[in-house]
Subunit: 243 residues, 2 copies
DNA sequence: ACTATCATACTTGTATACAAGTATGTAGTT
DNA sequence: AACTACATACTTGTATACAAGTATGATAGT
């Protein structure tokens, strides 16, 4: 059993009833994307099993998951950490834009009253999360916001793409929000306004507004990337201090 | 070790040096998509292990793969076969269209001489495959054709989506081509003309031609779906005869 | 000093063992 | 007849054992 007395980057309550393998994947993903585990590192199943005090079975499961996300590369001897370059992150948002544009084209042909209601609820949750300075909860609701939009069109393969990209997005947002909560607190109100714009675009079915919302949202990309590198620097410093 | 003396739907030489788990995933995928394993069936790891004469480890690996493709659904007790509805297949081609359109927008900004050369080679391979009535080889080259186009833009997340959708596409094409080889042999020349059009669109960077090529390609969808249902009927009859 | 060979300590892939939980059917009770 | 309790035969998740292959380094020979 994976002991939980150590420090983990991934919020443990989000995966309380997941299998050990999935939990490990989430944690390793965070460590890799945050830069805590540096790219080029070779991960050995045995060493990971010892480090996390579990057997190789869940470790193998975790590595398979991360490999399917292109975060690591399974080779003959060991799993090589690939990580994310800023190029990767840009390309990641290419896909998000592609998907969300497609989804919106479906949404304008639907009855959206339920969806708008769901999104409004999530938006209020996000406001509460800010009020209590809970970056993790904010991230959770942020991801949920986009997931709710995507699920609404009931499209199996779009959903599949979402499932495959969600973990990376979740990690990116988590790291970015934790960073912003400390240094750039007024970013959050901009994010809220942007999400309000999403809702507006869905409610009015006005493509112009949607384009504006997407544009604003993805203008944040550059910021998030910067946050990521800062986050990595912070982690590095943190670790150096411990030595 | 997985014995290979039984009848398999998936071409064994395509996965000669893959792990047993991956091979099992390919075979199970074919059986599910072809309808040989009916949707709603509950697969048990133990029973599969006995049936394929392997241990549970590779079976688990295979089931994880199929679950990530939404072909099965892992539940508390057993893996439920989901399979593909015609709706799923339509949605599958939505995504293909989305991806290939995106890719083409990148391609028109590139130097495409190498790509055109690669594609021409594959096209000639396809011609040879037809000449020798080799449906499997034809399918292989067909999939490779599209994969080559997608790889050419070097986009990590588009590549990731391709990796996640390729297996299903491969299965669909395989089943469809095997069917057409018997009954609709002149379909193949239409497919070749269509692929020639793809090359033309890439060479000339003329969006009109590309739209035409995509249009023609995805007009085949309806045919492929029909082929799939026919293929299922054939398999069903074949199995009934054996009883 | 340099190269070839081989022992060794790693690696993954697969098989098996064990633990914990769940559906099912049966026996006993009301 | 209907309902409860429990034994049983399943299920998955995790741990461990074993097999086969690979990188590394030491050792012997030149």
């Amino acid at each position: 059993m994976m002991s939980d007395d150590k420090e983990f980057l991934y919020p443990s309550k989000w995966i309380a009833n997941a299998s050990t393998g999935v939990r490990l994947a989430c944690e390793l993903r965070m460590r890799i994307i945050s830069g805590m585990v540096k790219k080029g590192t070779v991960l050995s199943e045995n060493k990971l099993a010892v480090e996390f005090e579990v057997s190789r079975s869940p470790i193998r499961e975790a590595l398979k998951i991360l490999a399917s996300e292109n975060i690591i590369r399974l080779e003959r001897m060991g799993a090589v950490v690939v990580g994310l370059t800023d190029q990767d992150i840009k390309e990641f948002y290419d896909v998000r834009l592609l998907i969300e544009t497609f989804v919106y084209e479906r949404i304008v042909q639907m009855d959206t009253s339920d969806l708008v209601s769901d999104l409004s609820k999530i938006l209020e949750m996000m406001e509460v999360a800010i009020k209590y300075r809970d970056a993790d909860e904010f991230s959770y609701q942020d991801v949920l916001f986009h997931e709710t939009i995507i699920r609404s069109i009931n499209h199996s393969y779009i959903q599949l793409i979402w499932n495959n990209t969600k973990p990376v997005m979740e990690s990116l947002i988590l790291l970015s929000m934790r960073m912003r909560l400390q240094e750039k607190h007024d970013d959050f109100s901009r994010i809220l306004t942007n999400h309000q714009l999403y809702i507006e675009a869905i409610k009015t079915k006005d493509r112009e507004i949607m384009i504006q919302a997407l544009h604003q949202n993805f203008d944040n990309v550059q910021n998030e990337v910067e946050d990521l590198w800062k986050s990595q620097q912070m982690l590095t410093k943190g670790r150096e201090q411990k030595r």
